[in-house]
């Protein structure tokens, strides 16, 4: 359930971000294009229904992420996971000023925000915000792409389609950033040539804010922003602390022997607690994990040869995958199996350089013989 929800909310957020960035990418041509095409990209989100869906998605996705962080057994992870994790943590602090600033200034300050104004705002009025914005684009896109591709690479059609989509994944943010930079250049030129800066018009012409309310609202906007930031910081710290409490217990020493048909046997002694896959990654043992430890693909499955303990039974998620793959009972998913202290011998079944799920059947046959 949590898995599906995470993917679902992630897809919604991805759709929004992709649209927003493609919109910005038009800035490579001209800022006018960006502004004129904005309604086409934004109409889904600019109404109360779309806006609320977006908001709920953000909150849900974040909560699910926090939950995943709480459940994380080790912070030693593969490069992809590390990037995914760090970008996830960084998104909120980078996003809050922008998202809240845009929403708040439209509702509280009655600003009609246009791209030319925003560009001027980011490049000339508050360049620090401009930098934050660029970082936000980088971080959010990296996070989104890792999530998307980790999900997509399990589809059977992905190996044929993927290579054509990868360039898009680079082109969209790069063009958006170049558009942003180009717009900034234009804005700086305009400023130098002495043209008066753009002043945002009223979002709702029927409302006229007097000076005092405007500044009150402005102060309120700023305070809320900081509250949000501090609140987020508190949540992360709280989750990390809860995780620390969860993992505080010393779980003893675990001896693992990895055996496989491609002749790369390894034995190691480590602290119990993390999953087999996490242990393998932390110890530079190549191990197939197409879905990056989400328990979906089953490429990380191992055969447990001997174990001096009764292994914890497979979770619902793991069992579903194992059933789907028709695995015998001595097979387990390395990304889900958390052996306790003691010793365990496992056989890696799938070669670590597996590229897509279509290959598994072939390898499986070879292994079963």
């Amino acid at each position: 359930m949590a898995r599906k929800l995470r993917i679902f909310t992630g897809l919604i957020l991805f759709a929004f971000i992709a649209g927003h960035l493609i919109n910005m990418a038009l800035g490579v041509i001209s800022l006018q294009w960006v502004e004129n095409s904005r309604p086409y990209f934004m109409f889904i989100w600019a109404n109360p229904v779309g806006g609320n869906i977006l908001l709920i998605s953000i909150v849900l996705h974040m909560v699910l992420g926090m939950h995943a962080l709480y459940l994380r057994n080790t912070l030693k992870m593969s490069a992809y996971d590390l990037v995914q994790f760090l970008s996830a943590v960084l998104i909120m602090p980078l996003l809050i000023p922008h998202a809240w600033g845009v929403v708040g200034s439209m509702t509280l300050l009655n600003f009609q925000l246009t791209f030319p104004y925003m560009i001027q705002f980011f490049w000339i009025e508050t360049p620090l915000e401009g930098l934050r914005q660029v970082l936000l684009v980088v971080v959010i896109w990296v996070h989104a792409c890792i999530g998307m591709f980790t999900w997509l690479r399990l589809r059977s059609w992905w190996p044929t389609v993927g290579p054509y989509i990868y360039p898009l994944a680079v082109a969209i943010p790069v063009l958006a950033l170049l558009g942003f930079a180009e717009g900034g250049n234009r804005a700086v030129e305009l400023m130098r040539s002495g043209i008066a800066p753009i002043v945002p018009g009223p979002a709702d012409p029927s409302i006229q804010l007097d000076r005092e309310t405007f500044f009150q609202n402005f102060a309120f906007l700023d305070t809320v922003k900081w509250y949000l930031l501090y609140g987020y910081g508190a949540i992360v710290a709280g989750v990390m602390f809860a995780r620390f409490l969860r993992l505080r217990k010393n779980r003893g020493i675990l001896k693992i022997h990895f055996r496989n048909s491609w002749g790369n046997e390894r034995s190691l002694v480590t602290k119990a607690g993390p999953t087999l896959l996490e242990i393998a990654i932390a110890n530079d043992i190549p191990h197939a994990n197409l879905c990056r430890g989400r328990g979906r693909c089953g490429t990380c499955r191992v055969r447990v040869d001997t174990a001096d303990q009764t292994l914890p039974p497979p979770s619902e998620l793991e069992q579903a995958t194992l059933t789907r793959l028709e695995c015998p009972p001595d097979m387990r998913l390395a990304c889900q199996l958390k052996p306790e202290q003691g010793s365990i011998d496992v056989e890696q079944l799938i070669e670590p350089d597996i590229e897509d799920l279509n290959q598994t059947d072939i390898v499986e046959v070879a292994v079963v013989q």
Partner: protein
């Protein structure tokens, strides 16, 4: 092989400190030339803004005649080399200059130290005077964009090549060659990704126009990142911290990882401090107001100090890891090396600090040369060991085969040999060929190990010399016209060193080749004749001495000539002597050379039966000049090698022996065939002969018909020298078998037809028999060949 690895193993891992220090010292050295430039860069800044008063005063002064004269003199003076390069007359003078220089430097350093606190402010002031805060932030924004574009490109590259890279990393590697190949391919992919990153980031950078300062800084950062990444890739190629399979140095996982980490840290720290220093230089050059010229010095010094501290921390922490939990006490080699390298780093730093740039470079190069030589030697040994570990299966089999071959040779030599019957052509078997190939392979690695070792050392020394020349080049070669003693000694030292190194290289090559050849030679056991290599064993040491003398002479002559001695007459004298000796010893030389070629052809060995023109006999001995052959009747022929034209060797590989029996016409040929076959089997089963027989006795049927009988032929094939005994046995057996089966040998009988009816009396009978006897005797079979023993 074992000999080398014993040397290499216990101390091998600590040598790799040198990597760390080499990096550190390189960074440090880059500060020095930059530091020397500081004044040049700062000067235009000082004179940048003269006030109008100054200009007025300057014009007035220019008009003054005294000033004009003084300027002229000053101009002439500057035409001469400055005090740094002027050769000094005496040692005290030189020392005085030195002390003065150090004192000046100390003053500057003190000033720099006092200003170090205000340096950040200075930087900030210069910065803000050049770039507003907005512009700075915009520059950073751009930088983030460039890096992202580069990273995006790289990610894209990784999507297409990542799996190939992973496959490379997972490959099961057996030989060193594979390891190097796969490691190289991996490095190629990684460099590809760095390259793509560079294209992405620098490419977008070029899309925009820049303020000079921003351009400098952004470029500095991009270049810094690329340099660090290139260094990391190189380190990964050699250390391969994650994949033990691909590692090219003898380090454990932990050691490789920590060394890799330290290499990254050092390169990054070096790149950052160098980048800051360069940026600051650009800044001061662009400053619109007076910047104290010691500000650069303080920045540079701080950067260098940071590098030194980081380097020393890296060295000691790595030493701790490398000593594997052993205490860093006296006697721990790691402690020695860590101390040595720390001292080297500090010495380099201090010399750089007091601006002895040349000396600093020399100390760094010479100080690194020593451990680097040891490191490279160990590394070459390690690589050779690795290369040979994988060759072992081939190696052993080749040894076995070689042994078998040797025994064969010994046996062949042990048995005396004699004449052979003319051999029928058949497919000769050559078991030596394979063994030779294998033997060659075995030698391939070990022969070249010391040579490669020397070659690497040679290369290192050459590098060091080139480095020294580059460092001292300005001062040494600028005054090539002025021949000072020091200059001369320096040049002579370089000449002599290079001559010695080359001679050493040549000598080691010859010596290894000869020694290896001799090591294969087994001296003959008592009672056995010496093997074919015996002559090699006498010739090769002689050759070795000749090469040694030649090399020594050449080196001596080179040294003499570099000292300025005219070696022309010496050479001419030697030449005349050489020609005279050459004419006198012409025949001798011809014999010796011909002997060498016969030896190479392997035309004969000691103990073999040969025929030269009409002389036959067993080869008994060989000298440098001649060959001694003993005829089987005892006569000894001495034949100079120069006289040998064609030579027939009867003792090679196999011989065929043919026997004939005369039987009556009524003999049952099937029975004969069966009997011969049976005898053949018996002979083959006889333990005395079974190793010597190649093809056992077999019947060839009727060979020809004669007047009173037919001749049946049998033949067999044996190893040379064994045929006589087997022939004897075959005769015995055939005779016995024929007798047992009622086959009589044909006897010569003459039928005498008497054309008369009356019975002959005794006398007449005798007369008839006598007549028949003479008829038989006139057809006796030919006497045996005279040379058959």
């Amino acid at each position: 092989m074992i000999r080398f690895s014993k040397l290499a193993r216990p101390i091998s891992n600590l040598r790799y400190f040198v990597l760390i220090v080499a990096l550190a010292v390189t960074t440090l050295s880059t500060f020095a030339p930059a530091g020397a430039q500081t004044t040049d860069v700062a000067e235009p800044a000082v004179i940048a803004a003269p006030s109008s008063n100054d200009i007025h005063e300057f014009q007035r002064l220019l008009g003054d005649e005294r000033i004009q004269n003084w300027l002229k003199e000053a101009a002439e003076a500057t035409g001469q080399p400055t005090d740094e390069t002027v050769p000094v007359a005496s040692v005290p003078d030189y020392l005085k200059q030195l002390v003065k220089k150090i004192r000046l430097r100390r003053l500057k350093l003190r000033e720099a130290w006092q200003q170090a606190g205000s340096t950040p402010d200075t930087i900030k002031t210069i910065w803000t005077s050049n770039l507003s805060e907005t512009a700075t932030l915009q520059a950073i924004t751009y930088l983030v964009i460039f890096l992202f574009v580069g990273a995006g490109f790289e990610w894209l590259y990784a999507q297409y090549t990542g799996n190939r890279l992973l496959k490379l990393e997972l490959q099961k590697l057996e030989t060193l060659r594979q390891r190097v190949r796969v490691g190289g391919a991996r490095a190629f992919y990684i460099f590809g990704s760095v390259f793509v990153f560079a294209i992405g980031s620098v490419g977008t950078f070029l899309l925009f126009d820049w303020h000079t300062l921003v351009e400098n800084i952004v470029l500095e950062i991009l270049v810094g990142i690329l340099v660090v990444r290139a260094a990391v890739t190189i380190s990964r190629f050699f250390l391969s911290p994650r994949i033990e399979n691909l590692r090219l140095v003898p380090l454990s996982n932990v050691e490789a990882k920590s060394l890799h980490l330290r290499a990254i840290i050092l390169v990054s720290v070096g790149a950052i401090s160098l980048g800051v220093f360069n940026v600051f230089n650009t800044l001061t050059a662009m400053a619109k107001f007076n910047v104290p010229d010691t500000a650069n010095l303080s920045i540079g010094t701080i950067g260098a100090i940071v590098c030194v501290i980081v380097a020393i921390l890296c060295i000691w922490s790595y030493a701790k890891i490398a000593s594997n939990d052993q205490p860093m006490k006296r006697g721990n080699p790691n402690r020695f090396w860590a101390t040595y390298l720390s001292v080297l780093v500090i010495a380099t730093f201090v010399l750089g600090l007091i601006e002895f740039t040349n000396l600093m470079g020399s100390v760094a190069i010479l100080g690194l040369l020593f451990p680097a030589t040891i490191m490279m030697r160990n590394w070459v040994d390690y690589l050779y060991d690795e290369a040979e570990v994988q060759i072992v299966p081939i190696d052993q089999s080749s040894v076995i085969e070689a042994n078998v071959e040797g025994e064969e040779g010994d046996e062949a030599i042990a048995e005396s040999q004699s004449e052979l019957e003319t051999a029928e052509t058949s497919e000769p078997v050559d078991p030596t060929e394979d063994a030779e190939v294998a033997e060659h392979q075995r030698g391939r690695y070990d022969t070249y190990r010391p040579i490669v070792s020397r070659l690497v050392r040679f290369a290192l020394v050459i590098f060091a010399v080139v480095g020294l020349v580059l460092i001292w080049g300005n001062s040494v070669f600028a005054m090539a016209g002025i021949q000072t003693t020091g200059n001369k000694i320096f040049k002579i030292t370089i000449d002599v060193t290079i001559a010695l190194l080359i001679a050493d290289l040549a000598w080691v090559w010859v010596k290894t080749a000869i020694d290896n050849r001799l090591a294969d030679y087994r001296p003959p056991e008592d009672g056995h004749a010496p093997g074919p290599e015996a002559r090699m064993a006498t010739l090769l040491p002689l050759l070795r001495t000749i090469v040694l003398v030649t090399l020594l002479t050449m080196v001596g002559l080179t040294v003499l000539s570099s000292f300025g001695v005219n070696i022309g007459p010496l050479l001419a004298g030697a030449g005349v002597l050489g020609v005279a000796i050459g004419f006198g010893a012409q025949a001798l030389v011809r014999d010796v050379v011909a002997g060498i070629f016969f030896l190479i052809d392997d035309a004969f060995r000691i103990g073999e039966y040969i025929e030269v023109e009409n002389l036959r006999g067993t080869v008994e001995a060989m000298s440098i000049r001649s060959l001694r052959v003993r005829h089987h009747r005892g006569a000894v022929h001495t034949i100079p090698f120069g006289e040998l034209k064609a030579l027939t060797n009867y003792s090679r590989d196999w011989v065929i022996m043919k026997l004939e029996f005369r039987v009556p016409f009524d003999t049952d040929m099937q029975l004969v065939k069966r009997l011969v076959k049976k005898i053949g089997v018996e002979l083959k089963e006889n333990p005395d002969f079974k190793d010597s027989i190649i093809e056992t006795l077999k019947s060839q049927g009727v060979r020809r018909m004669e007047e009173f009988n037919m001749v049946i032929g049998v033949k067999f094939m044996t190893k040379p020298g064994e045929q006589w005994v087997i022939r004897r046995e075959a005769y015995h057996k055939v005779r016995d078998a024929f007798e047992a089966n009622g086959i009589g040998f044909a006897e010569r009988n003459v039928k005498v037809e008497v054309l008369s009816d009356k019975p002959l009396d005794e006398e007449t009978k005798k007369a008839v028999m006598g007549a028949a006897q003479s008829a038989i005797e006139s057809r006796l079979p030919p006497a045996p060949a005279p040379d058959e023993p």
